[in-house]
């Protein structure tokens, strides 16, 4: 039976549409994975010596002290990204297979998930370093086993709380408060949690406790799943109560308003687009890395422009980049309805512009870091509106990845979104403004650099009609290919 399950899993992995990508992208992905492995390994090996050098105490105790945050982050990451094992259970329900077996397999599958294995790259080298450094083996092994069990506890906690947004937000909020109060030295949660982890080291046999908890959680998850393995139970799609919204204030914009209304509903009501917008909002704070001098590598003058583009362009990059894929699930409707391509594209364009302006207003706080910082933000906004807004629409014509609005599954690292053409189009989005700035900066002064970039952005604005005609042509040319690509979910 297990053989069958594993066979199914194997096929579903290797035959998935996304797996069949260009070979060079697979190589890139492998390199990316390797990078993370190396980073984790480096952390595992290096953490010990790093902490020792900082002289803030015994490295193991320090790690134990902050372990609670490590575990909290792990839980948050899992909640957001780890897939639930319920997929593909449906077709197995009516087959002559024991339900327990199906559940055991589904849960077992989560054990070898990347989210669990990744930790090994930190804990194993860290433990080895401890042993080499002469820590007593029995105690280290006890500690190691205990933490392994706790990581797996996280795994099953996540399985159980999945889709319970309330639980998640409460826990997340608690940890944010804890983190903040530690930072401001009001209350230090690690004083109470650190000793727990120390305990596993000091008295190694207590490692059995987390293992017992793990077993308990496994059975909890098992019972929960088995009980809910019905189409109208745990396997049912969650339905939210719908409310009809008219958004009549947008009617004054005519046809454009019609699309804007739709786009607003699109963003509000779908998980995937919501995440994109939230991710975009975080970009506003990206500039802090540059302007506070938090990272030395970002101190060069060009980086300011780079920051300006990102601060105001969060929405442009996270949402705009996937126009028209947001409409992929009903693209045939859009193509056969009484819609002019230009109207459709302008509505997306306006959406991007409005969002950019809002980000610019929100980013006013950069004035705090001096006029130059805010000038960079403003200039970045002008460039985003004038040039980048076209470029994302243009690039979108080649992005033929259908988007499943209801799931966050592929929100990160959508493979097909990176093809040679879109990659090439990112150059003018980021490199060109830096280049223009550099010319002004070196030939005259920083002020001239900003003015050059702004003028360039304004020029783009002037040629709007011309550019739109061109983009419209590209979309029309790509229409049939796009329709075909969206069909292949």
């Amino acid at each position: 039976m297990l053989k069958h399950f594993i066979g199914l899993q194997w096929k579903s992995f290797f035959r998935s549409a996304t797996f069949k990508t260009e070979i060079w992208f697979k190589i890139l992905m492998a390199l990316g994975a390797l990078y993370f492995v190396v980073v984790f390994l480096g952390m595992g090996v290096g953490a010990f010596f790093l902490i020792k050098e900082m002289e803030i105490g015994d490295p193991l105790r320090v790690v134990n002290q902050f372990m609670i945050y490590y575990l909290a982050f792990d839980l948050v990451f899992r909640y957001m990204l780890q897939k639930m094992p319920v997929t593909n259970i449906k077709p197995l329900l009516y087959l002559p297979i024991n339900k327990s077996k199906v559940v055991n397999f589904s849960l077992g599958k989560t054990v070898i998930s990347f989210f669990n294995l990744a930790h090994a790259f930190f804990f194993i080298p860290f433990s080895i370093v401890l042993l080499v450094e002469g820590y007593p083996p029995l105690q280290v092994v006890g500690w190691h086993l205990a933490l392994m069990a706790i990581i797996y506890c996280n795994n099953f906690i996540n399985v159980m709380v999945n889709n319970q947004n309330v639980v998640f937000y409460v826990i997340a909020a608690l940890f944010i408060v804890a983190g903040a109060s530690q930072y401001y030295q009001w209350f230090d949660i690690t004083i109470y949690t650190g000793p727990i982890f120390d305990f596993f080291y000091d008295i190694p046999w207590t490692a059995i406790i987390p293992w017992l908890i793990l077993v308990g959680l496994y059975y909890g998850a098992f019972a929960y799943f088995k009980k809910h393995m019905y189409l109208d139970g745990g396997l049912a799609k969650k339905q939210t109560e719908a409310k009809t919204e008219n958004l009549e204030w947008l009617d004054r914009f005519g046809n454009l308003g019609t699309f804007l209304k739709n786009d607003i509903k699109l963003i509000k009501r779908n998980k995937r687009s919501r995440s994109a917008v939230i991710a975009g909002a975080f970009f506003i704070f990206y500039g802090l890395l540059f302007f506070t001098g938090a990272l030395e590598v970002y101190d060069g003058p060009f980086w300011k422009i780079f920051a300006g583009i990102f601060v105001t362009g969060g929405f442009l990059f996270s949402f705009g980049q996937y126009v028209p894929s947001w409409d992929s699930s009903y693209y045939p409707l859009m193509m056969s309805q009484n819609i002019k391509y230009r109207e459709y594209l302008s509505s997306k364009w306006y959406l991007v512009i409005i969002a950019t302006i809002i980000s610019t207003i929100l980013a006013t706080f950069y004035i705090y870091f001096g006029w130059e910082a805010y000038a960079a933000v403003l200039v970045g906004a002008i460039y985003n509106i004038g040039i980048n807004s076209y470029l994302v629409l243009w690039g979108g014509a080649y992005v033929k990845t259908p988007i499943d609005l209801t799931s966050n599954k592929k929100a990160f690292g959508d493979k097909q979104a990176f093809n040679a053409k879109t990659l090439l189009l990112t150059l003018p989005k980021l490199v060109l403004p830096i280049g223009i700035y550099a010319i002004g900066h070196f030939l005259i002064n920083p002020m001239a650099g900003y003015i050059f970039v702004a003028v360039f952005g304004l020029l783009g604005f002037v040629f709007k009609n011309k550019v739109f005609t061109m983009i419209e042509g590209i979309y029309k040319k790509e229409k049939y290919k796009t329709l075909l690509a969206y069909k292949q979910k």
Partner: protein, 231 residues
């Protein structure tokens, strides 16, 4: 109303549609039948310019559909669930289509009131998004939406599939009325021979991409079709 000229569609070596000539006059209720893979959906997709013909073309009221978009204002269709916007409520969807076709809310409401029977209290005011409706109810929404804005050509792919018997009977009445009273050209495809013979004045049988029968519906049509499909 619609003229098809030397239309072919090939994928690689495989010709999935090959129609020399086909003329559909205005106000005709036109039925398309054929087994799986006969080319019904391909023909409809070509009519809507969703795929490109390999050769030949289609003229929809003087507009060549793969050259100009001017056929869009008077043509509407419901092919499958990709014609629905999952995250809208049915009402929002109807208004959206209405706005695209130059109809305001009141116009749409007036039209919808004619379909109260058809909806059977399962569509309007349900507090559900389209994606959460059952397949049959989704279909009802899509079909009714295709009537918004007085289109002159309505294209429905398999409209009877997934509908409950009561709705099937009502839909037959609606389609007949559209063609007979309002002069709308209705194109319907179906696997169900009984439904098409009842609704359509003309039935064309496709087989492996070619027209093998073109029948003006009469009392004998059903027998003729059955004889054909029984092989």
């Amino acid at each position: 109303m619609i003229t098809v000229h030397n239309l072919t569609k090939t994928y690689g070596e495989n010709t999935v549609l090959n129609i020399d000539h086909l003329e559909i006059p205005k106000g005709q209720s036109f039925g398309l039948v054929g087994n799986n893979g006969a080319g019904k959906t391909t023909l409809f997709s070509l009519l809507l310019d969703l795929i490109q013909p390999s050769s030949g073309h289609i003229i929809n009221k003087d507009v060549q559909v793969d050259q100009s978009e001017d056929w869009k204002p008077f043509t509407s269709a419901f092919i499958d669930e990709t014609f629905l916007i999952g995250y809208l409520t049915p009402e929002e969807y109807f208004y959206f289509i209405g706005e695209l076709r130059g109809r305001n809310k009141a116009d749409v409401d007036a039209l919808l009131s004619n379909f109260e029977d058809f909806f059977h209290d399962e569509i309007l005011g349900q507090k559900k998004y389209l994606r959460d409706l059952s397949k049959g109810n989704q279909k009802k929404v899509g079909i009714v939406a295709s009537f918004i804005g007085n289109p002159e050509v309505v294209i429905l792919d398999e409209p009877f599939a997934n509908l409950d018997p009561t709705t099937q009977i009502r839909l037959k009445g609606i389609i007949k009325d559209l063609a007979a009273k309002e002069g709308v050209t209705v194109l319907v495809s179906s696997h169900d021979l009984i439904h098409v013979t009842e609704v359509c004045e003309r039935i064309v049988v496709l087989n492996k991409g070619e027209i093998v029968k073109d029948i003006h519906t009469s009392a004998e049509t059903m027998k003729e079709l059955e004889a054909f499909f029984a092989g």
